[in-house]
Amino acid sequence: MNWLGIRLPVLLAVLACAALGGGLFAWLLTRGIDAPYLVGVVVGVGAAAVSRERSGMRGVWCGVFSVWAGAIAQRLAGPYATVSLFGFASTLTWGRAALFSLGAALAAAIGSRGLRRPR
């Protein structure tokens, strides 16, 4: 265990899933579909799939990374691409803020579980 409280391979898997989920979210944005919570689902499922035991700390990291990945993704493609990361909050209506929060909550809830069979 390191200072982040999660193992390095798991962290790498979480980051990879954050990139994947962010990519999916950005691709859907270019097609007019705004579904930021999907980032959280992809991150959570990915983290749980590579983990054997429950970990609240891993859930927290999943929530954090899903928010950042969503923010970076909408900066790269779609209707919000012109807004800088510092202005991210200005793209959040109450509805969008709720969807992002839902994504973070899903990432934390799913990501804290361990779906891999114990050895």
């Binding site: 982040l4 510092f86 202005g87 909050a89």
Partner: protein, 181 residues
């Protein structure tokens, strides 16, 4: 984003984190097993003559990993609210923890803490001093609570809540379990 709302957000996080720290500190002192495994070494360390570096690896790791997690979650909150005070508050909490601990080392020298007769801190509602924290190290379970890191008011509140709260601690649960069996 005005300076006022940033400061407010930073203060709000600092206050909540300080409360969480104080409560957890109280709980670890009422959980013999966890105390022995983790926090107890922190106390043992300062009660002898100084024989080790200021912050050892265990302490740096505990403070830093708690700080990294709170900075990360606050970074996400700052991003979503556009108020970077939340992140600044997490950073400030970490700096304060480290400074308080490094400063209490003034009382960690050739003469063991207990022999220095620091004197029990009076019960007050102001800020916690490094001297109070040094006293805590030599008197972990004193009747005057010294669990807080920043605001001594949390200790006063815990002293008031203690008779009710103590029933929910791990030690109380364990002794109930021992009685039942």
């Amino acid at each position: 984003m005005s300076l006022f709302t940033s400061a407010l957000a930073a203060g709000a996080f600092f206050f909540c984190a300080d409360f969480a720290y104080t409560l957890d500190h109280y709980l670890v002192h009422h959980d013999r097993e966890r105390y022995r495994r983790t926090h107890g070494r922190h106390h043992r360390r300062y009660n002898g003559a100084k024989d080790a570096p200021q912050l050892d690896e265990y302490e740096l790791t505990t403070y830093t990993s708690a700080a990294i997690v709170s900075m990360a979650t606050m970074s996400a909150l700052s991003l979503m609210t556009g108020n970077f005070g939340f992140f600044a508050g997490a950073l400030a909490k970490y700096v304060h923890s480290l400074v308080l601990h490094l400063y209490q080392h003034r009382w960690w020298g050739p003469v063991p803490l207990r022999k220095q007769n620091l004197g029990r801190p009076r019960r007050h509602w102001g800020f916690v001093s490094a001297r109070t924290h040094a006293f805590h190290h030599s008197h972990p379970d004193d009747v005057t609570f010294t669990y807080a890191e920043t605001w001594a008011g949390f200790d006063r509140i815990l002293e008031w809540a203690h008779p009710h709260l103590v029933r929910f601690t791990a030690d109380a649960r364990r002794s109930r379990g021992a009685e039942a069996s």
